[in-house]
Symmetry: C2
Subunit: 342 residues, 2 copies
């Protein structure tokens, strides 16, 4: 079963992926910040029990205990957005249940007892929601969630109370970023309860012109309303990016081709590449393919997949060894050349 990010479509559109996250807590235990270790262990065993014995789940799921994972394995999972830094911080009592294709995961003892996540390539929020909802129903059937009839699902952080849902799109916005339009846009969207963040969420720098657009409010709105709002706003942003690019192409096609081909020439030839530069070159190349400016053959993986693979942790999978800091840029450049040698 192929990983969700191997999907071909992820390199074609502005929307790389759609994601739903549901925050849930088990009624009988204190929230994660105050939970006793033995109760935290029960959160894990009870949750595993539900999923591992569920007859309705067709796909293979496996459990990973953070205590037994190496630093590199944890890093790789973070780079793939499967686990969060918060979960790693709770490493002495935390774990994750992961579907084989990595599209559905359940973090245990993160900020909340249970965090269900479903991710889909491309513009597929509804399908991601259905997956998350299926897992949620399954667990709710056996586990009594902390739920209030007025407030909805109760969560560790008040911002998640209500549906406990965060919906998000991962989008690629190289042009709006380049011309400096994103800052204003981010401020405006904030007023509508929509956050735009870097690829690794809150407080991280945007990298490779990839942004997460997500709802901030979950209280007083239905899941459908949250998704509709996010979908509408995201479509508007995408259209803005697209229209501006198309207009620019009318007068400056060669200049834009030049810039894309330079990125391609450097990436496919250089011998040393930092993470920051690699992300930026890959972003330009992705842009080039999207607008048919770049006629070269597409690489072996889609660009977002490559972006994951060149990060420190995942790069070691390619290298098949631990990489010293001094070696990474060289191995990264080598790996990238290989990706484009098709």
């Amino acid at each position: 079963m192929d990983k969700w990010y191997k999907c071909k479509e992820t390199s074609d559109g502005v929307i790389i992926s759609s994601r739903i996250r549901l925050a849930r807590n088990i009624k009988k235990y204190s929230f994660s910040s105050a939970i006793k270790k033995e109760d935290a262990e029960k959160v894990i065993s009870e949750s595993r029990n539900v999923i591992e014995n569920a007859e309705v789940l067709e796909d293979k799921y496996s459990y990973m205990d953070l205590q037994t994972l190496s630093e590199i394995e944890k890093r790789k999972l973070m780079e793939k957005h499967i686990i969060s830094p918060y979960l790693v911080k709770n490493g002495d009592r935390a774990g994750v249940i992961l579907r084989e294709d990595e599209s559905v995961s359940v973090m245990l003892n993160e900020e909340d007892h249970i965090r269900i996540q479903a991710i889909r390539a491309g513009n597929n929020l509804k399908s991601a929601y259905e997956e998350a909802d299926k897992m949620d129903d399954l667990m709710e059937d056996k586990i009594e969630y902390a739920f209030d009839k007025d407030f909805g699902y109760l969560t560790s952080c008040p911002t998640n109370i209500g549906t406990g849902m965060r919906a998000s799109f991962m989008v690629h916005l190289p042009y709006l970023e380049k011309i400096g339009h994103l800052k204003n846009l981010i401020q405006t969207l904030g007023k509508f309860g929509v956050a735009v963040r870097g690829i690794y969420g809150e407080g991280t720098e945007p990298s490779g012109s990839i942004y997460q657009i997500s709802n901030q409010r979950t209280l007083g709105k239905s899941e459908q309303e949250i998704m509709d709002t996010l979908q509408n706003i995201t479509v508007q942003i995408i259209e803005k990016e697209r229209n501006m690019v198309i207009k620019k192409l009318e007068t400056e096609r060669v200049v834009m081709e030049d810039s894309v081909y330079r990125a391609y020439g450097i990436l496919t030839n250089c011998r040393l590449l930092t993470m920051k530069e690699a992300m930026s070159r890959l972003s330009e190349i992705r842009f080039g393919y999207m607008y048919d400016l770049l006629k070269e053959k597409k690489p072996i993986h889609n660009i977002y997949h490559i972006m994951m693979n060149i990060q420190f942790g995942n790069l070691q999978t390619y290298a098949q060894k631990e990489l010293e800091e001094g070696e990474r840029d060289e191995i990264r450049a080598e790996y990238l050349r290989k990706c484009f040698e098709v």
Copy 2:
């Protein structure tokens, strides 16, 4: 008969070419600055007469009158170092006699009545001198030169009095330039009567890390002494460049490979390239081949030949049409990609 610069060796070593120039004047006429137009015309007819009727010359020579040459043709000849801006300035009474392989030329009514130039690919000053000397003997046999038994050949500018000879090497010194060692070197060499200049002589900016190293003094020294001094000094400079590069390669090979491959990646992919950037990328690529850092196939012409071909005038030969200023960078990039598609 192939042009001298098509020689393969010119892209392999630090010395691109060796050149001898002899300044001569006809005794019976005033120097160029004061010459009457009818006398200037006689300078041309008498010189042409000697060369066109010489039985000893095996190669084909042809005469070009500057009055009948188009602006582009003049530009192309300047870009190839066959004629000088000074000759173009005297265009109403000037001409050039050129050997088919462009290695020997005689400018008529430049700063002096007669300027014989012989050029050879690589480190071949002696052979260049022999060619120039042969032409000089031929003309001196039929024309009475302005000559003083104490001072030697009399020339328009006092710095040329004596042998009237300027010997020069065109060298490629990317590393000394890069690390900023050339400025001091140029000052030091000045004390020994040796000048280091940019690719287009006095007052021009160095481009593509290419320099002309030439003698400044011609009085009180024999031709052999001038050439020996220049040869010794140039060999020392080359060894300095080479030794420093080799030392650097011991510790920073990958960094240098990276830099060379980036230049190659950009040059062979980009869609717009200014003259300045093209020269700089070609210089890095030449350096890469020279030290075996760049493993890609060599281009269709040697790098110095390509450097000539991408200049404004010669680029039109490739384009087969007049190029507007806005088109040049695009055509230059296209031409360069073609050169490396081997």
